[in-house]
Amino acid sequence: MDTSKLKYSSTHEWVFAEGDTAIIGITDYAQSELGEIVFVELPEVGIAFDKGDTFGTIESYKTVSDLVTPLSGEVIEINSALTDSPESVNDSPYDDGWIIKIKMTDPGELDRLMTQKEYEDSPKEH
């Protein structure tokens, strides 16, 4: 995945948009802060979320974080491979470690996300 083409949220999710669908994952920074990922709780396909909703959780062995969707939409695909190999989020956060694919209800929301440069320059707190 060419990370310069992605959009980023302040809660450390990345978005790859194509047409009215978007793939969402967590950034390399986020996975390194969490440490070794041991479990990803995924939503069911078909569930609709509003921007800012929690769509799942991601766990290292000593912490747990909410997964927040930066876009509104309906889940059309989940990365079920993460159930057996959650470490993909560590090893390959932008490719094998993707988390969900949604059908956007408001692609205009993309404009409010950060570019790679903006994300890299943003203050990091979690």
């Binding site: 041991v38 479990f39 709780e41 766990e59 290292s60 062995y61 000593k62 912490t63 747990v64």
Partner: protein, 444 residues
């Protein structure tokens, strides 16, 4: 001051290092308006000799199983405790250790919990077990809470044949967590399955059954399971671990979650506590399970080792989103159960279960022959059964204790329809002589 080593000299030295003129200065964070300035209203300190005398007097003021043969059960049982159990549990390496948060120096506790979980899985026929909860009553309540979070439904359906104290605990928890508790009546000494089938609705999270039930009788779990499953409700079975020496397991009977009181596994009755909440469930619900869990892994050198795992479910990490607020297990009690099951093993536990069945049926048969008495337990029972008596239970029990016999539970208090009925229990500890004496005591 046998438990404090600091001498006046030590204290002076330490105060100097701290830079405080006196010990009182260390408490100057406590403002005078809230500082306690009188003496605590407590008895004078006692020496060991005085303590020993005082507590021996208190212990002697009880009429314990030492002086009388116990025929009462109803959830707490007078089973035999093999000598291995106190020998191991009394080791201070176990009882003076903390929760095993530092696995490198807690492998003893961790491995024993891992073995405990393994034994409970084998006993119940389910795939995962936790490190234990407070007691059978709260384990049942935790199971109901877990069922609600799995199914996102809010109604708990409980049979009237579940231990009344457990149902009271369920009522407390359901009120606090804002779930609905519905009770289903009984037919004789078993759950009224027709009523149960009618009561299960689309919002029923779980059906809560005890087997053998509070009256000692065996329930038709297959039917209950079918009814629950048809409506998408989970089946929670509260079991007696001793009965599983012989009886079909909750797993075989289709339970989604199985809970039980583990006191029978090597713990003394101790007036009802500490106890041991057993908790097991199907693999698919593992991450919704409350309480501590130990898992196997390896250390930096590749050696097999044990560690607390799946901790992100717990309060110290997930705080208000935790699966439960529970911090501990009943560590030492779980260890007792592990030693108990290891000592008895396959043939021993089966023998204990057989003795319970055979002796309780012997006693029931003898009582059935008595004038004025009637055995109400028609369905197969395990070690407890209900009898109807010709006089108030309190009167009969007062007579029995004179002869060194602790009679059964007066059922009329909890079940008005069982006025003048007694719930009797026979464990492997009761001898034929004791049972014959009980029959004689009832006869008069």
């Amino acid at each position: 001051m046998p438990y404090i080593a600091n001498t006046p000299d030590d204290r002076r030295k330490m105060l100097q290092s701290v830079g405080a003129p006196g010990v009182a200065d260390l408490f100057d964070q406590i403002p005078s308006d809230v500082r306690f300035s009188s003496e605590l209203d407590l008895p004078q300190a006692m020496s060991e000799i005085e303590l020993r005398r005082h507590f021996a007097n208190l212990a002697n003021a009880n009429t314990s199983g030492q002086q009388a043969a116990c025929f009462i059960g109803a959830g707490i049982y007078d089973h035999y405790i093999p000598s291995t159990v106190p020998a191991v549990v009394g080791r201070s390496e176990f009882y003076t250790s903390y929760t095993p948060y530092q696995p490198e120096i807690s492998q003893g506790t961790l491995q024993s919990i891992f073995e405990f979980q393994s034994l409970i899985c084998r006993l119940t026929g389910l795939e995962v077990a936790n490190a234990s909860l407070y007691d059978g009553a709260t384990a049942l309540a935790e199971a109901a809470l877990m069922a609600s979070s799995i199914t996102r439904r809010s109604q708990w359906l409980v049979s009237n044949c579940v231990n009344p104290a457990y149902r009271e605990t369920l009522a407390t928890y359901s009120w606090a967590s804002e779930y609905e508790l519905v009770e289903v009546g009984q037919s004789g000494v078993v759950t009224d399955i027709a009523e149960l089938e009618k009561s299960i609705g689309d919002d029923t999270a779980c059906v809560l059954i005890q087997n053998p039930n509070f009256f000692g009788s065996i329930e038709d779990i297959a039917k209950i399971k079918a009814a629950a499953q048809a409506k998408g409700a989970l089946l929670v079975v509260s079991f007696d671990p001793i009965s599983l020496g012989l009886m079909k397991t909750p797993g075989e009977l289709g339970a989604d979650i199985a809970v039980g009181e583990g006191q029978s596994l090597g713990l003394s009755m101790a007036f009802g506590g500490p106890l041991l909440g057993l908790f097991a469930c199907k693999q698919q619900y593992m991450r919704q399970m409350p309480g501590r869990i130990v898992g196997a892994t390896s250390d930096a050198e590749g050696k097999l080792a044990y560690v607390l795992t799946l901790q992100t479910r717990e309060q110290h990490i997930r705080r208000e989103k935790a699966t439960s607020n529970i911090c501990t297990n009943q560590g030492l009690c779980a260890l007792a159960a592990t030693v108990y099951l290891s000592t008895l093993g396959r043939s021993g536990l089966r023998r204990v279960a057989e003795l319970c069945v055979e002796k309780s049926h012997y006693l029931a048969d003898r009582i059935a022959d008595l004038d004025g008495y009637k055995v109400l337990s028609g369905a197969p029972f395990f070690k407890e059964f209900v009898i109807k008596c010709p006089a108030p239970i309190a009167e009969i029990n007062a007579r029995l204790i004179e002869n060194g016999l602790i009679g059964g539970l007066d059922l009329g208090k909890q079940y008005p329809e069982f006025a003048d009925c007694m719930l009797l229990c026979v464990t492997e500890k009761r001898s034929r002589d004791e049972m014959d004496a009980l029959v004689e005591g009832l006869r008069r």
